[in-house]
Structures are given as C-alpha cells and as structure tokens.
Amino acid sequence: MVGHLLWRGMLAGFLAACLAALFALAFAEPQVDLSIARETAHAAHAGMPAGEEIFSRATQKGAGLFTAMALYGAAVGGIFALIFAYAHGRVGRRGEPLESRPLALMLAAMAFVVVALVPALKYPPTPPAVGLHETVAFRTVAFFGMTGLSLLAAVAGGWIRRRLLPRVDEFDALVGGMLGYAVIVAAGQMLLPAIDEVPADFPATLLWRFRLAALGSQSVLWLALGLIFGWLAARRLHMHRA
C-alpha cells in the first residue's frame, strides 16, 4: 500500500509542479525578465560575464523552469505521500479519523506554511541581480537551516498537541501545538543571521511582485498537490478495502 501511495505522491507532485510552472510563467517570469534586464544594464555582475550564455532565456523559462519545478514537485510529492501514509487513520477529530481527501488538503496546507511560507519570511526568494556571488554558500546554509528548523518546530508542535490531548479538549490542544511551533520559529528567526543584499537602487515594487509571484507559485504547487494526491489516494485506498 505504501508503495502505491509513494508513486501517486510523486505523480501528484509532478502534475502540481506543472500547474505551478504555468502560474510562474504567467506571473513571475515578467519580474525575472525585468530583473535580468536591470542586471544586464548594470553590466559587470561579479563573476558572471554576460557574454557567456549557456541557455537562452526562452530555454530557462520553458524547459528549464518546468524541469526544475517537476523535480521539486516529484521530490516533495514523494515525501508528502509518506507523511500522508503515517497520518492516515491516525489523525482525526472526535475520535473519527479524517478521510483521505480532507486529510491530504490539510497536510498540504500545513506543508506550504512549514516548507515554503515560514522559511521565506526569514529568507525571502530573491530575483536575479540580487545577492552577492561570494555569499552563496553562506546563504544556502542559512536557508536550509531555517527550513530544517521549521520542520523540527512542526514536529515539536505535533508532539505538544499530542501531550496536551488527554488534558484539554482537541481544539485547545491544536492551539497549543501551533503556539509551540510559532514560538520556536520566532526564536529561531530572531537568532539566525539577517541577510540583506538587495541593492539600494533595486525597485521595491519589482522585488515585491517577484516575491509575491514566487510564493504564489509555491501555494499553487502545494494546493494542487493536496487536491490531486487526495483524489488519487482516496481512489486507491477505497479500491484496496472494497
């Protein structure tokens, strides 16, 4: 059963990523193009000579964007399916386990917050032409550190919720778990180093639109993953038990 769920998760992630890539093509790529136009105009961007173009912009926005999104979608979809496999029949309300489709959608919404939104609050996505080439290793470690902390905090939140369950009602236990998550994440975000490499003359509206579109693509990906996987999983689980 778990294997069936795993490949359905990867398929759902792939399909969701294609939708997210379409969204990104429409809403985010115009901002990427504007950023690159600025970068070219400003010429000599450290270590990246403008003359050596390996792939055209058309390839980067087309095959490149879809490949990157699809790999990401299939990867997170696979992990998502495993988390679903664990939560299925274990997570519920008033002693009744949640059905597959609401469970998948709820897990996807949580994953969006934990994996995409919260790390982006500390280290928001940046368009090309923002960020110093020399600090990429440091920024990568900081970003993965933040994402890891958010995941650990979510596990801690789930643990707090479960510890509270025998003592308080379900809703209060859930609030307690979410508070625990929020406190850990807030403390972590205060302690992790600040990174601000946006050039002083970079247009604020362009930066805002890029970041909004990037988060929009992520929300499309997770929402579609939750809905598509929920549908596939419900069909499979039903077939198995009928």
């Binding site: 990104a24 390996i54 792939f55 999104m69 090309p128």
Partner: protein, 74 residues
C-alpha cells in the same frame, strides 16, 4: 445476463480510514527520502554553493526555478 460492474471510486468507503503500520512505512520512507534528496540537490544547490560537475550548465538550466522556489542561486 446481468453484468455487475460498479464504479464507485469517488465515494469513500467507511474502511477508508485504517492506519498503516509504521513498520510498513519506514522502508518506503527511506526510499522516498533518498530519491527526494537527489532531486532536490540538483534543483537547489548543484553548481551554486556546491559543485559535483564542472561548468554552470545545471545551474543555468534550473536557474528560474531555483530563484522562484526560494533557493539562494547566485
């Protein structure tokens, strides 16, 4: 002769909510993590902070996705 073919995929059976034993999940979880790590590494980090292959082809190909998914690109 009546053929009894029913398609009731969309309707959830009450039995839809049985838990899967942890021992059955763990080996698949390891496989999923391994596959995901390889995929995510190439999307997020290769030829950025760390390079397994020379050149910038991987970096340039996944460039837009890397920026949009929030990974530090360059």
């Amino acid at each position: 002769m009546a053929t009894r073919t029913t398609f009731n995929d969309v309707i959830l059976a009450p039995g839809d909510t049985g838990a899967i034993p942890l021992a059955e999940i763990v080996p698949w979880a390891l496989l999923a993590l391994l596959l995901a790590t390889i995929c995510l590494y190439f999307v997020s980090t290769e030829q950025g902070a760390v390079s397994l292959f020379d050149g910038m082809a991987v970096h340039e190909f996944v460039h837009d996705g890397r920026h949009l998914l929030g990974f530090p690109c360059h």
